[in-house]
Amino acid sequence: MKAITHRHREARKMKRGLLFDKRGEKNDMISPIIIYTIGNILFFTFLIIFIARVSTGTLNSEQLYAKEIALLIDGATPGMELEIDFTEGYKIASKNNVVDLKGNLEVTKLVKIDNEANLLMVSLSSSGGYKFHFFSDYEVGVGFKLNEDKIVLKIK
């Protein structure tokens, strides 16, 4: 009988502790739940975006095009004009909605060359891409032939 009374007293104490903190104020239980939910949503969003990007072949194609173009530039001599088949790149970029305000494919964003830093950047999605250096001291100009699905490199 004594033990039951003790148990009841403890349970009452505990109930008080759950609703009120030491100073007798009400516990704020909502903010941890919100943080917890936002954390989970962010985590799964990033995970899904990552999987979607990788599974469409964006990462792989960006890498392959960057390396292929850099090697072609390094193997070329000044005065050359190189045409590279970019069919797959255009397809992936269209899928990833790399379009301008008029709804056209924003080709100038796909392959960028920084001649100062000798850096080549290929981006087939709206954010991010793959960068690769070339070692030749050339001025390289990039052109796009959309109707032929090709990109043109002019080496100076």
């Binding site: 505990m14 759950l18 989970n40 985590f43 070692f135």
Partner: protein
């Protein structure tokens, strides 16, 4: 009686752990840890399945060595100490000196394998040692090296040009 009281205390402790905020906090930290582990596992699995890394370092070393050999063959003043390989061969000096991803050495030897001039070097000198280790030790991070040579005829003298080129460029994803 003592046992009974201990049992009650144990029950109270269990109830407390489930209802108390501290227990919830512990659970959420544990949950984020589990999410992290699951996330890493998924990323690793997806990359292993889709993202076959294309390694072109050996091709790059090949292109560099071929470019150097072609350039050296076309120049007649290669034995002059004033010969600037970066200018004559259209190589970007900054890339070789700052990026630490390329290396080359050009040696000029006569028929008796004596040096006709100082070797021309560029890039990361330590690649030379790692190139020597290639073949003996397998390491993913080691640069890929290519060595090739050509015999040239300069002022009725036979010059054996030896080029060692190395690349350790892997490329980078940017956000």
């Amino acid at each position: 009686m003592l046992l009974k009281s201990k049992k009650i205390k144990l029950e109270l402790f269990r109830d407390n752990l489930l209802k108390d905020c501290r227990g919830e906090k512990i659970l959420s930290i544990y949950w984020f840890f589990v999410l992290g582990v699951v996330g890493l596992g998924v990323v690793w699995g997806v990359l292993a399945f889709y993202g076959a890394d294309s390694d072109v370092r050996i091709l790059e070393a090949n292109v560099l060595s071929e470019k150097l050999l072609r350039c050296v063959s076309e120049n007649e003043n290669i034995l002059d100490e004033s010969f600037d390989v970066f200018v004559e061969c259209d190589l970007d000096k900054n890339i070789f000196e700052e990026e630490e991803i390329f290396y080359f050495r050009i040696s000029f030897l006569n028929e008796d394998e004596e040096k006709l001039r100082e070797d021309i070097l560029g890039g990361v000198y330590s690649f030379e040692e790692t190139c020597e280790l290639t073949g003996k030790v397998e390491a993913k991070e080691y640069p890929k090296c290519v060595e090739r040579g050509r015999v040239l005829s300069l002022d009725s003298q036979r010059v054996y040009v030896k080029v060692l080129a190395a690349s350790n460029q892997r490329g980078e994803i940017f956000k």
